[in-house]
């Protein structure tokens, strides 16, 4: 089954739509799907032109396609556990939060908190992601614990905060403190970033671009080889964050690094 949702013009287009109801299982049986626009509840038809093609007997056979002005539609795919969602353009905050299975593809950019507290499944963003991509919830000790979040462009600050399991791959740059508080899982950054892995206690982060302002509390632990996009790279290995008694691994490509130079011990 393919459900195509195309946005209708709205009187107040800057008010975000809260759409956690847009998940594959809700379209199996013509459910009365509701969303929120500010403090008003709306039926799905008030916000989208809806076209449904073909049958499905289980949620994993459902594909939802979102198109139009989707940049401030929030919570799409929240708690999703089967099926596929494709966003033709940009997507709003909290896309794929708590996802445990299934696939989300975003052809444009994703706003903040993409894939927060993810448990499983796959999210692929072809554009850029905002702040707190694949992060955890403030106050909880563990964040994303499984699945894959892949961003072809760049991501904002605090990417993969509290990461404890799963894979996060940012092919472009990251902002400040990617991997901050991480304790498990794998974070890969293809481009540049600032101050990676502050307060890290476990897990592995690899940076293939430049690291700016490397934090002073990481201990050099030799060199290792890693592969990225078919290329073999020499990496400097650091263990830390010592400030937090951490035993995580931060691997940084052995190229000229500026800011506080990473030490070789």
């Amino acid at each position: 089954m393919r459900v195509i949702l195309r946005t209708k013009p709205r009187k107040k287009p800057f008010i975000p739509i809260e759409a956690e109801t847009i998940i594959p299982q809700n379209f199996l049986r013509k459910n009365d799907v509701r969303v929120y626009e500010g403090n008003k509840e709306r039926r799905l038809e008030e916000i989208f032109y809806i076209t449904t093609e073909g049958p499905a007997v289980s949620p994993d056979q459902v594909e939802i396609v979102l198109s139009g002005e989707t940049g401030n539609i929030k919570r799409v795919g929240e708690y999703m556990n089967a099926g596929r969602i494709v966003v033709e353009g940009d997507i709003g905050m909290h896309c794929g939060n708590f996802m445990s299975a299934g696939e989300i593809v975003i052809k444009g950019n994703a706003d903040a908190w993409l894939g927060r507290e993810m448990r499983g499944g796959t999210i692929r963003c072809e554009g850029n992601a905002g702040h707190y991509c694949a992060a955890g919830y403030r106050g909880e000790k563990r964040g994303m614990r499984g699945g894959l979040v892949e961003v072809m462009g760049s991501a904002g600050d605090f990417t993969a905060e509290y990461l404890c399991g799963g894979e996060v791959r940012i092919h472009g740059d990251c902002g400040d403190l990617p991997g901050v508080e991480m304790r498990g899982g794998n974070l890969t950054i293809g481009g540049h970033c600032h101050r990676p892995c502050g307060n890290m206690t476990g897990g592995t982060c690899m940076v293939f671009g430049r690291v700016h302002d490397m934090l002073p509390t990481f201990r050099g632990a030799g060199n290792e080889e890693r592969e990225y996009r078919g290329q073999r790279c020499q990496m400097m290995l650091y263990k830390g964050d010592a400030a937090n008694r951490g035993k995580g691994s931060l691997l940084v490509k052995n190229i000229e690094q500026d800011g506080l130079s990473p030490k070789k011990k």
Binding site: E18, G38, N39, M93, A112, D176, G198, N199, P216, T217
Partner: protein, 429 residues
């Protein structure tokens, strides 16, 4: 008429030992206050009546009309914002939150541009603190990090720290060590025993280094961190470890520089680490006299200290999403009520532009930058002068502000109660 033990409604110090002389409905002298207090009590130029925008000018209106129109504006909106709160008493803040609840509105206070990041850090790692009297009576090492009390909290040092004699420190100025950490040599830095100058944006790295040193990992530290020499880092760490009671006070130097809440978190984790060796506390230098009060009232009613969104009929909290600067710069709000604060002066330009674009109403005694963005302004009594109510000091101690004289203005509580009643009537059961 002289009134003793007056509470000053300006900064988070919430000094309560002012002696004020009142003649009729004017304060004519203030003793024991700092220059900020003098100005607050004596330089009080009020808006005389409610005003309503008319073309490029203003016309006077009545309280009843202004309040009714405000109610209609808020009820018509799909995403209204009720912002401010820090400059009024708790009873009014409480009504504001209940108002937001029945409107399905966003409600936020000035923490959002001030110590919001501190709150976020506390939500990650907790807050090992105490009341200010503990510091006054016991602290032998005091650190001001990213804050300049001589300017912003003028009596902090004389009432609570450097110059305040306490039970266990009879000669404070001699017995206490003062460390100031800043990016520039501020006035407070000038009187410090140890001044640590950090490169802008380098606080996080320095805090990480200090944590490692306190844990005994001196060997890992490079020759300098963010412009601070290793020698000075060791010296500072030793000072901290040798304290019998250390107190760290921090301000916007940490909350509003790169890393924001993570800077505070790092400072709190340093404090927690130090507690393994000796007694240490950390506390934010709250700006407004009742911003902590708005956090307290918000929390016991909604569960969250600021940035609460009632649009879905529950209390939802997510700074970055439900915070005023974000919802205004994204142009999400379609109406705004500003109470006891001045976002026109403090918010980014994009937010001020949006406030001007949407129907904005301000409840405030004075003409300020926000007036120029509003459609309606309703003047009220000033809490601590002609209105009374509860305030919470920067350390959480609640003190009741005094009404010095009975004026002609209604209090925030009176106006908000009337507004609430009309909104309830419009919304129905």
């Amino acid at each position: 008429m002289k009134i003793d033990d007056v509470v000053c409604p300006f900064c988070g110090c919430l000094c309560d030992d002012l002696v004020v002389e009142v003649e009729g409905t004017r304060v004519v002298s203030v003793e024991n206050g700092c220059t900020l207090a003098n100005e607050k009590f004596m330089g009080d130029h009020r808006l005389k009546t409610p005003i309503h925008r008319e073309g490029k000018g203003w016309k006077e209106t009545t309280y009843d009309e202004a309040i009714r129109e405000t109610a209609e504006i808020l009820c018509d909106a799909d995403r209204p914002l009720l912002y401010g709160w820090s400059g009024t008493h708790g009873e009014a803040q409480s009504i504001g939150i209940h108002l937001a609840e029945i409107l399905g509105a966003l409600v936020d206070n000035t923490s959002t541009v001030c110590h919001g990041p501190s709150i976020l850090a506390i939500q990650e790692v907790g807050h090992p603190g105490c009341t200010l009297g503990q510091v006054k009576n016991r602290a032998d090492v005091v650190i001001y990090w990213g804050t300049n009390p001589i300017d912003a909290h003028p009596r902090h040092m004389s009432r609570y720290t450097t110059f305040a004699d306490g039970f266990f420190l009879k000669e404070a100025f001699r017995d206490r060590k003062l460390i100031v950490v800043d990016v520039r040599k501020s006035e407070s830095a000038n009187i410090a025993d140890e001044f640590v100058r950090i490169q802008p944006g380098g606080d996080y790295a320095v805090l990480s280094a200090l944590r490692a040193i306190v844990q005994g990992k001196r060997g890992i530290i490079p020759p300098s961190v963010a412009g601070v020499s290793r020698e000075q880092l060791f010296r500072v760490a030793d000072l901290l470890l040798s304290a019998k009671f250390g107190a760290i006070f921090f301000g916007l130097g940490l909350t509003m520089s790169r890393g924001k809440s993570k800077n505070i978190r790092n400072a709190i984790e340093l404090t927690e680490e130090l507690n393994r060796h000796t007694k240490f506390i950390i506390s934010p230098m709250r700006g407004h006299w009742n911003v902590y009060g708005s956090n307290e009232v918000f929390t016991w009613i909604t569960g969250y200290p600021y940035a609460v969104d009632f649009a879905r009929g529950i209390a939802f909290y997510n700074p970055g999403e439900t915070t005023s600067v974000d919802v205004l710069s994204r142009k999400e709000c379609d109406a705004c009520l500003v109470v006891a604060s001045d976002p026109g002066a403090h918010f980014p330009k994009a937010c001020a532009e949006h406030l001007a674009r949407i129907p904005t109403v301000q409840i405030d005694p004075h003409v300020n930058a926000t007036t120029h963005l509003s459609r309606i302004q309703i003047p009220v009594a000033v809490t601590g002068i002609d209105a009374e109510g509860t305030a919470y000091r920067m350390d959480g101690v609640p003190i009741r502000t005094r009404m010095l004289f009975r004026g002609t203005y209604p209090s925030d509580t009176a106006v908000l109660e009337q507004l609430y009643a009309i909104v309830k009537e419009i919304k129905g059961p």
